[in-house]
């Protein structure tokens, strides 16, 4: 019980720190890939602190409330996960958080924000089957949806869930908002939709979205980590290394692909979910 509380507190404090530093590394590595020097590593923190200083400019009153709910539910999602809670509950509260962000974007009558919100809905449709299959895969392998049980199971899930692992890596691009799947909003100045989902948010509201994104990234990498635990320090080390490699891979993909249309996003992620994810589940059901 105490270790559980300690993990949640550690998540609350360190996730935005590590997430922000990862975002800073992301920007430096991206810059180096483009032959530039890039910003200081603490730049994401400067950005957020600056946004906190800006004048509050909102289109309507409910907008900030919804964005606040988005941040709170992202934190709750990660909290459940790091407390060793139920994977299904984690996934459902993650979806709820995303819905709050979409409602916030819809609540402003800006056409850019609304198209961004519609695209975000499509992205949820694209990645959700694979996320659910990941949870189901862990259940079929360990016999429990609880993260704490998966951690103490003793065998490395990756060896039996290799298809699901690659499927999860695929949809991670959507969740990290990286090209080619950054349809609804991007960190770069692709100006096709102005700023998509976040067009109408500024100042503190935008800062909340940034911080929520850091929390979310850490929790999503936690899922990657879960594939490698086998109860030994070696598994933990391997998990952390693979998390960093996965993050680097996403940055590389981000810098080497143009944005795709939503049709491709939906088709490709469902095809991956069915081939890599579902076949893995069927094999798991009948082989072991």
């Amino acid at each position: 019980m105490t270790t559980m509380i300690l993990w949640v507190i550690a998540y609350l404090i360190f996730a935005p720190l590590v997430g922000g530093i990862l975002a800073g590394l992301d920007r430096i590595v991206s810059a180096r890939m483009q032959g530039r020097v890039g910003p200081p590593i603490l730049q994401p923190f400067y950005d957020v602190l600056k946004l906190m200083e800006k004048e509050a400019l909102t289109v309507n009153k409910v907008q900030d409330f919804y964005v606040m709910c988005f941040l709170i539910f992202i934190i709750i999602t990660g909290g459940f996960f790091f407390a060793g809670g139920d994977l299904l509950l984690v996934i459902f509260s993650l979806t709820l958080a995303s819905v709050f962000l979409i409602v916030a974007a819809f609540s402003s009558n800006s056409p850019y924000a609304q198209i961004g919100a519609e695209r975000e809905l499509l992205q949820i449709m694209a990645y959700e089957p694979m996320v659910l299959m990941t949870a189901v895969g862990f259940y079929m392998f360990t016999g429990s949806f609880r993260v704490s049980d998966i951690l103490t199971f003793g065998q490395m899930p990756l060896l039996y869930l290799i298809g699901i692992f690659f499927g999860y890596l695929f949809i991670l691009t959507i969740k990290f908002r990286k090209s080619p799947f950054d349809l609804s909003m991007s960190h770069h100045a692709h100006q096709e939709l102005v700023k998509g989902l976040t067009t109408e948010f500024s100042g503190k509201t935008l800062a909340m979205i940034e911080v929520a994104h850091w929390y979310e990234n850490i929790f999503l990498l936690g899922f990657v980590f879960l594939f490698f635990v086998n109860g030994t320090p070696l598994g933990i080390a391997l998990g952390v290394v693979v998390c960093l490699v996965a993050y680097f891979l996403e940055v590389l993909i981000d810098n080497s692909y143009a944005r795709m249309k939503w049709q491709f996003t939906l088709k490709s992620s469902w095809v991956i979910a069915i081939t890599a994810g579902f076949i893995n589940l069927v094999v798991l059901r009948f082989m072991f």
């Binding site: 910003p39 004048e55 100045a189 948010f201």
Partner: protein, 164 residues
């Protein structure tokens, strides 16, 4: 210390520029000059921007657009007029459709002359704008005190008019 100077996000608007200055503005983002070193990002969104770069002179058609972009930017904000056309109207000053430089519509903080303004000059202009940005941030908290006498003056003015 104010963090506005650490991450100035820029919005770039092309008034009636010949594109010379616009290309130089974009050149600032290339590996050669790489303004992201200073945390400068080119956003397409006035609501996220701190620095407003205007190129080209103001005419009847873009007057409203420039005004609207300026109004949509949250405080503190800085306007940098890039190139001689944005500064004063340049060689187009006498044209029938040209109103003049950017300062005919919105208050300008930094003028960067040149035809076209060199990327070094633009970066220098934005960096000069950062000190203005810091001053504006420092003045933000005091604003109600400053505006109060003005409002009082306006009130007395109307009273006087009523009496008259």
């Amino acid at each position: 210390m104010s963090y506005v100077t650490k991450s100035p996000w820029v919005i770039h608007y092309d008034g009636s520029s010949c594109n010379g200055c616009d290309i130089e503005v974009l050149a600032c983002l290339t590996p050669m000059y790489d303004v992201e070193r200073f945390g400068i990002i080119n956003t397409g969104n006035p609501k996220h921007a701190d620095v407003f770069l205007v190129t080209g002179a103001i005419n009847e058609q873009n007057k409203g657009v420039v005004q609207q972009i300026y109004d949509q930017m949250p405080e503190p904000k800085v306007v940098v007029a890039v190139g001689i056309c944005a500064t004063s109207g340049g060689i187009f000053k006498e044209c029938y459709n040209i109103l003049g430089g950017t300062d005919t519509v919105i208050p300008v903080d930094v003028y960067v002359p040149g035809c076209a303004a060199r990327p070094e000059a633009i970066i220098d202009g934005v960096v000069k704008g950062l000190s203005v940005l810091a001053e504006k941030k420092a003045a933000m908290g005091k604003k109600p005190v400053e505006t109060a006498p003005a409002a009082e003056a306006a009130a007395t003015e109307t009273e006087m008019k009523e009496e008259a």
